[in-house]
């Protein structure tokens, strides 16, 4: 019995590991969300004692229930870190990728099942290190999620050191995962599954894996160098003549603070596409399935995703226009940044055009997918002024930037992830999720997210910096926009409330959901040919799989059925 339980926990089956990733990353999403509720409350009611939970935060973090500036900085840094590295990426790539990709290509498992398990356990270890860092003296890392040097180099306490250690574990996990995904997709496609018969979701995961594989090592190097700075006393990121709180710092000097930014953003910008590509993949699956027609411009989308992946490596310094790195470099990076918007627009346009002439089924996954498109579009369009140096300079580090990328990842990526959960839930559990609860969850989340993020554009344009403990109270010119902080915090509470519908739906549907057959959505891709809750021991299909068709053969003229699965001969 004990052996059985251990085998379940330390499973090497891609579906179990996918679920482990799923539950762990959802837990971290909740943690990251809780942190940001505190931030929003602090912005609305700076300096006031926090009701109910204020006493639980401890005297050092919140003396008398009032969030201290030091703790506020930890909240900001760890919200970003947890959401990006422990929440969204593991859910989009680790969970969905692990569970769905081998099924969609007709493979028995990942190419390296044991390595796959190791990836998960390294991820969990990295996550725990990050959580533990809240409880060490001095608290968690508090230098922003970007950990800019020299501040992060000289930060007191062990928070930043643990951040680096946790990050190294997460990087190892991602590298092993990425390597595994690429090898799986290249090597384990079923007979007949040629490259252009791959569902778009698989393409998206494939390019994502390359981004992780080639971009993450830059942060690995940066973390090693900063670790040396903090532990051994080198000064890679500490310039000569550094003065800290009025005292000349006792360092050898000669370092370069910009080096950290270059290394960080060399990862950081491809990471943005790691956040968004799997989401686009999920949306493409849901849209093709619910419009009952093939995706418009499938090949164009595949080529675009390639271009996107390549260009994402040559835009990183558009995060650094304000550093004085020089106008020639800025000119180069703003040009590449404008170019990279083209493939993104192609993909989004192809998804929207896919709706044209379809008989659309408005189920919960499709509602999330439909909302994804305008929300992601809004996030993308508001990014253009940030990609041009002239307009970025006044907007840099304001709430405008926060609104911009949250429109991409919150009602963008996270909506896509919700769509994916509702869409693939019957495959994983053999039961449907409740539609009514799903619609309440959708509508509530959509409204609350917009009430949270839309006012940030206004505040940002008024010049409110995004890192202020007092939420901008020191800005006389921005006073009129500060009252917006109050509806924003209530919307954040609302957003939390509407997530309860999702959690209840998830848990109740596990036991009491309507029983689904193997292919409840009448979909064409291979995962729907496997039995629901596929067996948990390397091997997903009852019979050997052979693929004869393109991924989205819906409403084929003259066909007997409305859809032709990829393996239907």
């Amino acid at each position: 019995m004990r052996g059985h339980v251990l085998r379940r926990i330390f499973s090497t089956d891609h579906k179990v590991i996918g679920l482990q990733y799923g539950f762990t990353s959802m837990f971290f999403l909740l943690v990251g969300f809780s942190l940001v509720i505190l931030i929003r409350w602090q912005h609305a009611y700076a300096g006031q004692a926090l009701p109910l939970v204020g006493g639980l935060l401890g005297e050092t973090n919140a003396p008398g229930g009032v969030i201290s500036p030091e703790f506020y900085n930890q909240l900001g840094a760890m919200h970003g870190t947890i959401m990006v590295f422990l929440g969204v990426v593991p859910l989009a790539f680790g969970a969905f990728g692990n569970y769905i990709v081998p099924l969609q290509i007709g493979a028995p498992d990942m190419a390296f099942p044991r390595l796959n398990a190791l990836s998960y356990w390294l991820y969990l270890a990295g996550g725990l290190v990050m959580l533990v860092s809240f409880f060490v003296p001095g608290g968690a890392a508090n230098n922003g999620w970007t950990s800019y040097a020299p501040l992060s180099d000289i930060a007191a306490g062990h928070g930043q050191t643990l951040w680096l250690g946790g990050m190294l574990l997460l990087i190892f996990s991602s590298l092993l995962g990425a390597m595994n995904f690429i090898a799986t997709i290249i090597q384990l496609r079923a007979p007949g599954m040629t490259w252009f018969r791959l569902p778009f979701f698989v393409w998206a995961q494939f390019i994502t894996a390359f981004l992780l594989l080639l971009a993450f090592p830059a942060l690995q190097a940066a973390a090693v160098l900063q670790g040396m700075d903090r532990l051994v006393g080198t000064s890679f990121f500490l310039p000569s003549g550094l003065v800290v709180t009025g005292q000349p710092a006792d360092v050898a000097g000669g370092g370069n603070a910009l080096l950290w930014q270059h290394l960080f953003w060399f990862l950081g910008h491809p990471e943005v596409y790691v956040l968004i590509l799997p989401a686009m993949g999920i949306i493409a699956e849901v849209i093709a399935n619910n419009t009952r027609k093939p995706l418009w411009g499938y090949r164009l989308m595949v080529y675009s995703v390639f271009v996107l992946g390549f260009l994402s490596f040559v835009v990183w310094a558009h995060h650094m226009f304000l550093t004085g790195m020089g106008t020639a470099i800025s000119a180069f990076f703003q040009a590449t940044t404008m170019i990279i918007s083209i493939p993104s627009v192609i993909i989004l346009s192809a998804l929207i055009l896919s709706l044209y002439g379809g008989s659309i089924r408005f189920n919960t996954p499709m509602l999330f997918a439909l909302a994804f498109m305008p929300m992601f579009g809004l996030g993308g369009l508001t990014g253009l002024p940030l990609g041009l140096a002239a307009t970025d300079i006044p907007l840099h580090d304001t709430n405008y930037v926060v609104a911009h990328f949250h429109y991409l990842v919150a009602p963008g990526t996270i909506f896509a992830l919700f769509a994916g959960v509702y869409y693939w839930f019957p495959k994983v559990t053999g039961r449907m999720m409740n539609e009514t609860l799903g619609r309440i969850h959708f509508l509530g989340s959509l409204i609350c997210m917009n009430v949270i993020f839309m006012p940030m554009f206004v505040q940002g344009l008024a010049g409110v910096n995004r890192r202020l403990w007092d939420g901008g109270a020191i800005y006389s010119h921005a006073q009129e926009t500060l009252s917006l902080n109050v509806p924003m915090v209530y919307a954040a509470f609302g957003l939390a409330f509407f997530q309860l519908f999702f959690l209840v739906n998830l848990l109740v549907s596990l036991r009491a959901g309507r029983v689904a057959d193997t292919n409840p959505w009448e979909a064409t891709t291979l995962e729907w040919s496997a039995t629901s809750t596929p067996p948990r021991a390397h091997g997903n299909f009852d019979r050997p799989v052979r693929v004869y068709r393109d991924p989205y053969e819906y409403s084929v003229p003259g066909a007997a059925a409305g859809f032709l699965p990829q393996n239907a001969d």
Binding site: A111, L115, L213, P217, A218, L225, V232, F236
Partner: protein, 223 residues
């Protein structure tokens, strides 16, 4: 159900999973060391003064280490070459029902010899790695005895970081090789082709570690 293409080559890609996997892993390693070399270039080009590197470090010791590491790469190939040509024959014999009867005394002794040669060359590879680390430790000790530490200046910081990370890669490679030299060898008697592939994959990694050193040597000692 078994994972396909762990041992046999997938016809349309021409690869086994482990071989593709190790190349992908090395791609990420190239980016890691590439980032560190870029950091070196940026810090050095921005520095008003830079130590004369070959006066601080010992070029003869590093040259010796270069020879040792390249030699260990050669012995690694020879370890693989002593087994790989026999893998198919051993597999066929293992699969046939009357395994003992099939192997003629000449064949059996050739196979036994090949395993002995493998152990010898893999042992030499391990020895090469060990000599490299000992020489490296002598170099480090020499620097410390002259009060030259990573914190002394950025050149020494980069020197210790880059060579330290490289030494870590040598140690990891030695652990893998030691396993293949010792307990891992038993796989030869059950899945000979898979074992030969393992040696090849470990060898690809070992050559990469070698290549990194071939870049480190001129960059840190000579330029």
């Amino acid at each position: 159900m078994e994972i396909p293409y762990t041992t046999e080559v997938r016809p349309d890609t021409g690869l086994t999973n482990p071989k593709l996997g190790i190349w992908l892993f090395l791609a990420s390693e190239v980016m890691l060391f590439g980032s560190l070399f870029s950091s070196y270039v940026l810090l050095r080009s921005g520095a008003p003064t830079w130590p004369v590197q070959h006066e601080v470090l010992s070029v003869p010791l590093a040259a010796l280490n270069t020879v040792v590491l390249i030699a260990s790469s050669v012995t690694m190939v020879m370890a693989w070459a002593s087994l790989a040509p026999h893998a198919a024959a051993v597999r066929d014999r293992l699969r046939s029902p009357n395994a003992r009867a099939m192997a003629s005394p000449a064949e059996a002794s050739a196979e036994a010899d090949s395993l002995k040669r493998y152990r010898l060359f893999m042992g030499l590879t391990l020895l090469g790695g060990a000599i490299f680390l000992v020489v490296k430790a002598i170099e480090y000790g020499d620097k410390f005895s002259h009060h030259l530490y990573p914190a002394t200046n950025n050149f020494l910081g980069l020197y210790f970081t880059l060579t330290g990370l490289h030494a870590l890669h040598v140690i990891v490679g030695m652990i893998v090789n030691a396993y293949l030299w010792g307990p891992g060898t038993r796989m030869w008697r059950s899945e000979p082709e898979r074992f030969a592939n393992r040696i090849e994959v470990a060898g690809i990694y070992w050559h990469f570690v070698d290549v990194v050193w071939i870049f480190l040597f001129p960059v840190l000692y000579l330029l």
